[in-house]
């Protein structure tokens, strides 16, 4: 029996989240099949066939799957499911959308947003907004699982190719239709979606000095955030606030500049993969959670950082 992974893509490119999902799936069993369901998406299947851990690619290429409508995709996956022990997808808005439908149609539970594979039927997942980690055991024959990408490394790409099998299964529920989409275009990514965030605290001194952070952000394609102290001091607007009462973020890289690291702030960013702290106070609590700390005057080092990136 094998594991079925549902690829996330835009009909042209395999999304990075799928690579992390494949890593997680590989820890559940050896044989991993990647389902690429879309429209004119053979390029995605090609890309998927080169990912380490993928033993076979299933390609369901039909206009009914073009927009990943949950009603259609879930029926396709459910039809394939009896041949698999695990059905796995990324816990992205796409995966979260159709996977519970698959579970319900199979009359099994879904285990959402796993961050660790303990065994083939035991998984860890965050609950209560990450304030607790639950270990959950599945009692179902088919396990439907979504994976939190940031908790697993990305599978690598190989030179060799897995075989690609074309499926001729068409499900058109005809209940929903795509109308339009609007891709967020902003100079900088949104805080909650950014891979890199640079945040300033009260140490920034005033709102104008946030320009120093923006310069770094431009180089890194980062979003700019702030601590509550900086917001309360009136440096920047409320919607930039990261923390318990602001936005909860978990980017790959979080750079905290002039932020002391009050627990309320830490609660909003502690799940970041790498935390960098720049602060002139070497006793600032932020250093207790930072992977890399630099004790320095931010007004000296920020321009230097901008130049050297």
């Amino acid at each position: 029996m094998a594991i079925l992974i549902i690829a996330e893509h835009d009909n042209a490119v395999l999304k990075a989240a799928t690579l992390n999902t494949i890593t997680a799936a590989s820890q559940m069993g050896d044989e991993c099949h990647l389902l690429v369901a879309g429209s004119s998406c053979s390029a995605v299947a090609e890309q998927g066939s080169k990912v380490a851990g993928v033993t076979k690619v299933l390609l369901a290429d039909n206009t009914v799957y073009e927009y990943q409508l949950a009603e259609n995709i879930s029926k396709l996956v459910t039809e394939l499911a009896p041949n698999y022990t695990h059905i796995v997808s990324a816990a992205t808005t796409t995966g979260k959308n159709f996977m519970p439908r698959v579970a319900a149609l199979l009359d099994v539970a879904q285990i959402s947003d796993i961050i660790k594979v303990e065994s083939e039927n035991k998984f860890k997942r965050p609950i209560y907004a990450g304030n607790a980690i639950a270990t959950v055991e599945s009692l179902d024959n088919i396990k439907v699982i979504t994976v939190r990408g940031t908790a697993f490394s990305a599978a690598t790409t190989l030179d060799s190719n897995a075989s690609i099998e074309n499926l001729n299964i068409v499900h058109d529920a005809q209940m929903s239709q795509f109308i339009s989409e609007e891709v967020a275009v902003s100079e900088r990514p949104e805080l909650t979606a950014a891979k890199v965030i640079i945040s300033g605290g009260r140490g920034m001194g005033n709102g104008e000095n946030f320009a120093l952070l923006e310069n770094v952000a431009d180089k890194l394609g980062a979003a700019v955030g702030a601590s509550r102290a900086a917001v309360d001091a009136g440096f920047v607007p409320n919607d930039m606030q990261v923390g318990q009462t602001g936005k909860i973020v978990a980017p790959d890289l979080y750079i905290a500049v002039g932020i002391s690291g009050a627990i309320q702030h830490l609660a909003g960013m502690k799940d970041s993969k790498i935390i960098v702290a720049i602060n002139k106070d070497e006793d600032a609590p932020i250093f207790q959670v930072a992977d890399y700390g630099l004790v320095a005057d931010l007004f000296e080092v920020l321009p230097e950082l901008t130049d050297k990136l």
Binding site: K96, D107, D113, A132, T135, E137, Q177, A290, Y292, L294
Partner: protein
């Protein structure tokens, strides 16, 4: 048109969950409980549709021990018309919740079902989608805008990287995201009136649903605390570490 809204009683979002000393679960004794924020948005959306004339009745359903009647009453105080409590000893798994709700939908025949996208306790984000599958209905998850246009409901969804708008045949299921609306406060007279609005209690047996066990909670732990890393001495060193060691830039 009738709108069915589901609501869940959860720990108040201002209160930090704390793991029990024996790691069996989270300690909720005497903890402030509240209406799940996403469910509150669902109630608000339904009431706005009723106020706009698009809906005629708003029915709220909650599943859980008797205490969840408090959240039904809150929803009634916000403007819902009547409540249904499905009484269970513990919080059922999502699939069982969906099965119970499916029976309520079959009996009530709403034109639209609005639910929170997830509860802030279990963070599953499943029940709405599962209910849609069980009823073979279309779904619009993570909604930031809901419009009734002709015979269809148009849902603008918050998806990774932007917004997607889809049209759904009715009856349909919509799950709410944070930006859909800003819920109102319940007024004192409405809180008092809510105490007299109808609320019926049903059981899984009444609904003919067999509650199967699909998962087992093995243990609950506090998240591991981050450890302090290293101090670097210069910007060069920092950039070097980020590029070669952490590989994040």
């Amino acid at each position: 048109m009738k709108i069915l809204v589901t609501v869940k009683r959860v720990i108040d979002y201002n209160v930090k969950a704390r793991v029990k000393a024996d790691n069996s679960d989270v300690d909720l004794a005497n903890t402030k409980m509240a209406l799940n924020p996403f469910c509150e948005i669902a109630v608000e959306e339904a009431i706005r549709l009723k106020e706009s004339g698009a809906a005629t009745e708003v029915v709220v359903v909650s599943i859980g021990p008797k205490a969840c009647q408090e959240q039904i009453r809150t929803s009634l105080a916000l403007g819902a018309d009547r409540g249904i409590q499905i009484e269970t000893d513990t919080m059922p798994e999502s699939l069982n919740a969906a099965k119970l709700l499916a029976k309520v939908v079959e009996a009530e025949q709403p034109g639209l079902i609005i639910m929170g996208k997830q509860a802030i306790d279990s963070d599953n984000n499943q029940t709405g989608q599962m209910l849609a599958a069980l009823l073979d209905m279309p779904q619009g998850t993570f909604a930031s805008k809901v419009e009734l246009i002709g015979e269809k409901v148009h849902v603008t969804r918050e998806v990774d990287g932007g917004l997607q708008t889809i049209a759904l045949n009715m009856p349909a299921i919509v799950t709410t995201d944070l930006r859909l609306n800003e819920p109102r406060y319940a007024s004192l007279p409405n809180i008092m009136k809510a105490k007299r609005k109808p609320l019926v209690v049903q059981t899984p047996v009444d609904l003919g649903v067999e509650m199967k066990t699909h998962t087992q909670l093995v243990k609950v732990e506090a998240p591991t605390e981050r450890q302090a890393g290293i101090k670097v001495n210069s910007i060069e060193e920092l950039i070097e570490k980020l590029q070669n060691e952490a590989k994040v830039i």
